[in-house]
């Protein structure tokens, strides 16, 4: 299957997987392997300066030869915080790509689109490859693309909700109008949600909770991998149209029955 390309980034898997909320590090690493992902999102937080850390730093767990690390600006509620986070991530040597999130409020965790637009403009001008997390509004998606986003990431449903693709009509519209990759991010609950996103023509799906909080994360990661491939193949195959009425599959002529 053709790789996912976002500017200079080439990824052999169309699943991007997060690194949060797993029951333990070993399960997380095995889930990544089972998912087939080649890109892992991470967050930036303060170092705990009171404890000489003996447990592994996340970087110890990520095979840089296999996975691209995509830092996020999760937990940022202002443009300034998102800019600071993106710049710190670049300072850590993670490259130009950043998943930009500017969140409106803690309760809904929905993206603040106006702030995301502003941050996208600034970061794009600083040569970041901005993966802009947004809602499922086609107008917002286009505005982010015009503001310089390298990829636009409409949510399927609120973060961690597992509600799937709540507005497939809008996602379809976003895909049809976009010149940059469209990656559904947030709300994926189970494998069929990934298939649905890919069947709508999305270029990739980003998920975290759907795998990390499944009862069997490694098995679910494998399911997500298969779902992503199935959805992508279905999209490329040109599905039949939806019809109001039935149409027989066996011939009408030559019947010997009454």
């Amino acid at each position: 299957m053709e790789p996912l390309r976002v500017r200079d980034l080439v990824l052999q898997s169309r699943l991007i997987v997060g690194s949060g909320k797993y029951p333990d590090p070993d399960t997380m690493v095995r889930a990544w392997e089972a998912s087939g992902t080649r890109c892992i999102t991470v967050a930036l937080r303060r170092v705990d300066l009171h404890h000489e850390r003996d447990d592994k730093n996340l970087l110890d767990l990520i095979d840089r030869g296999r996975y691209t690390i995509l830092p996020n600006t999760a937990g940022c509620y202002t443009v300034e915080d998102a800019l600071r986070t993106a710049r710190l991530a670049r300072e850590l040597g993670l490259g130009e790509a950043v998943k930009l999130e500017v969140i409106a409020d803690e309760e809904t965790l929905l993206p603040h689109v106006a702030a995301t637009l502003e941050a996208t403009r600034t970061l794009a001008a600083e040569d970041f490859s901005v993966f802009a997390y947004t809602n499922d509004d086609p107008v917002a998606a286009r505005a982010l693309e015009e503001a310089g986003a390298a990829a636009v990431m409409p949510l399927g449903a609120p973060i961690g909700s597992g509600l799937g693709i709540l507005n497939p009509t809008n996602i379809r519209l976003i895909v049809a109008r976009a010149k940059v990759p469209i990656i559904v991010d947030a709300g994926v609950g189970t494998a069929s949600d990934v298939s649905v996103a890919m069947e709508l023509g999305c270029d990739a799906v980003l998920l975290n909770t759907g795998i990390a909080r499944a009862k069997d994360p490694v098995r679910m990661a494998r399911a997500m991998r298969l779902a992503c491939e199935a959805g992508r193949l279905a999209w490329l195959s040109g599905r039949i149209p939806r019809r109001e009425h039935a149409s027989p599959t066996s011939p009408v002529e030559g019947r010997f029955t009454s």
């Binding site: 949060g20 997380m28 170092v47 300066l49 996340l58 996020n72 710190l88 850590l92």
Partner: protein
Amino acid sequence: MRIVLNGEAREVTEGTTVGALLRDTVRDRSRIAVERNREIVPRAAYDEVVVAEGDEVEVVTLVGGG
């Protein structure tokens, strides 16, 4: 001299560098990034940049997230 380091007030002596702040608690400087008063301090400059009274210093690293 008082600074704020990762959100906590700290007393440090005059002339303390960013590098000195890290020495006791950060083993691997390649895994962290530093901001001083909301501006990035490049790694190469840690042992040269001297903190001043009231500075707000943030030392961050990667953690799990979606």
